[in-house]
Symmetry: C2
Subunit: 339 residues, 2 copies
DNA sequence: CGGATAAATACAATCGATTGTATTATTTTA
DNA sequence: TAAAATAATACAATCGATTGTATTTATCCG
């Protein structure tokens, strides 16, 4: 049942030609005459030949593979980015090695090592929440492997970036709450090592200041922004003598957790507390009440990041001074914040 | 900036030993003395050596990589399966090549070819909606590459399977509608080539029959079950002289589309029409009204399928008569079906 | 028809690591 | 201390495809 693998040598032997001729025939080189090519193709088919990409890649010292590192595959935003990446890279004939860091630094480090070892032609990545040291990333650079960040990046590296303007988006979100009468606005924030959370934080602060509102230390609740974090943040708030009247959460996941918790506790949204999230996860639109949030076009971002990376791969070495593409995001106003 | 890649030969030259010794030192072979190993390790570190997995894999003729084919990465069920797969395979030291067929047969065929060519050690897959011919899958078999299906499989192949009991789940879902007073139950069905949709259909039929209800041809609406399909199915129903009083959809996506559409049209759920979906996508729990559905434990399925595959990889050839693992699924009753 | 050019193919090295076998160095033991 | 046994290392083939160079074969033209 399991025949030994068929190689170009088998085809060559069968046809009494050299394996180099077979190789060239298979790759449509003009150096073999059409008739020979035909014979080779036929024989290849007959023997059930499957090219061995490993051998080919080794020789050509490229893997035709792109590494993708995301915090979590099952987060909708990331899986849409991956879909976008797939769209582009598939057409370009690349394979995609997908890894998740689970937002753990050690894991991310190991993953990058593996990608390097697998000779990926380029890497697309959104850094983990714990990433502050970037030795593993300069490793990529040193080996001449192009890197493009999407969404979460790390300063200190001159790699390409595809992002949204987190500051602006956060500013708008916060201002939207203010316009809706909120005066005591809490911010659910994430690790400040991660650019996006710092930017969102800054946008929040800036919006308050521009509108003459005080920025209060205790109104910033920092966590990893999982659903449970949203819940426990709400529980914290319930201990306050007076509830805040608005919440700007740095992601939807925590915001959704919060909404559910508030609902359980009988707090009315948006009447008692108005809430705005970030990312426009699919759940947010069907939540009751529907969640106001920032739309982050994951699919688009994935496509653009891939295009940028492929460009970098095509022009090795002479990479232009690290581009940053900023994609438009927009505030999606839904009921959770209107009053 | 970009130094040539460091190989074991560089280390060997530096240390004036043979590359074979270096290789053995790096892989902890007892054939090199501890002191030499130490020297090698130190030198490897100094030179910034990165093993070339391509070369190693070629020589060992295995890739340490597992191929995963799903219809759509961004579908939550599948991304959770992938997360489960990742959990197991990561620990076992495997890489994962993830591909999406987009439910297109041609694409699936090409993907499998690529996986073969990349010498993957095994394949995990959920077949596309269009897959009825299975030549590409027997190719895998012929090359001795283990295959394990999850969720959607194809009879006609003696590969492992990790599934839920779709018949039983559908039976329960339908019976649940009947218990809630539905007498005219429509079924949103998918392509009948795909086992799961056939089974769900059969479960629906069986439940009707066991309960003395007539199975009506025109109550079966077959589509690809995307959100839009749910919408257009509803539009079809609106032309009926009398609306049905229950809908059992073979997936959540279509059910959710239907709920939204009904809401737009002012049809009350569950009062006018009770609805049950399938899969327990995250959106279903926050939908208004929350959707009754079948919970399909994707993460678990991913883990089990991986374990089964790794087992197959470990015992090449002597694969036991294709196992089928059936995971428990359960009906999650929510408001969309209670009356 | 014979030499020149072009076309087609063969030869051989290579990518980087692995591994069976041969050789050298070290230790044991009689 | 010399022979035997063992440890440590070196040699060389190999995985399968690619590619620069050399060689053979076919074509052209005066």
């Amino acid at each position: 049942m399991k025949k030994r693998k068929v190689t170009i040598h088998d085809i060559a032997r069968e046809l009494k030609v050299d394996s180099s001729t077979v190789s060239r025939a298979l790759s449509n080189s003009p150096r073999v005459k059409p008739k020979t090519r035909e014979l080779v193709l036929k024989m290849a088919d007959e023997l059930g030949y499957q090219p061995n990409a490993l051998a080919s890649n080794l020789r050509k010292s490229r893997s035709n593979t792109i590494g993708v590192v995301v915090p979590r595959i099952s987060r909708h935003f990331f899986s849409s980015v991956i879909a976008g990446i797939d769209e582009i890279t598939y057409q370009a004939g690349y394979n995609v090695l997908i890894c998740q860091s689970l937002d753990e630094f050690e894991r991310e480090k190991k993953l990058v090592k593996t990608l390097l070892s697998n000779q990926v032609d380029g890497v697309l990545m959104s850094v983990s929440m714990e990433t502050s040291d970037i030795g593993h990333l300069t490793d990529l650079e040193n080996n001449g492997i192009p890197l493009v960040f999407f969404d979460r990046f790390n300063d200190g590296l001159k790699a390409g970036r595809v992002v949204i303007d987190d500051f602006k988006a956060a500013y708008e979100a916060t201002e939207h709450l203010i316009e809706n009468g909120c005066r005591s606005i809490v911010h659910f924030s994430g690790p400040q090592d991660v650019n996006i959370y710092k930017d969102r934080f800054n946008g929040y602060v800036s919006a308050l200041q521009k509108n003459g509102l005080e920025v209060k230390e205790d109104h910033i609740l920092t966590s990893r922004l999982m659903g449970d974090d949203g819940v426990s943040c709400v529980d914290q708030l319930m201990d306050w003598p007076v509830l805040p009247d608005g919440i700007f959460s740095a992601n939807d996941t925590a915001a959704i957790g919060a909404v559910k918790r508030f609902r359980e506790l009988g707090v009315e949204i948006p009447k008692d507390v108005a809430i705005v999230g970030f990312s426009n996860e699919p759940v947010s639109s069907v939540l009751e009440p529907p969640l106001t949030t920032i739309d982050q076009p994951g699919f688009e971002m994935g496509k653009m990041a891939s295009n940028m990376l492929l460009e970098d791969i095509k022009n090795p070495g002479k990479r232009p001074p690290a581009q940053t593409i900023t994609i438009d995001s927009k505030l999606i106003v839904r009921k959770s914040s209107i009053r």
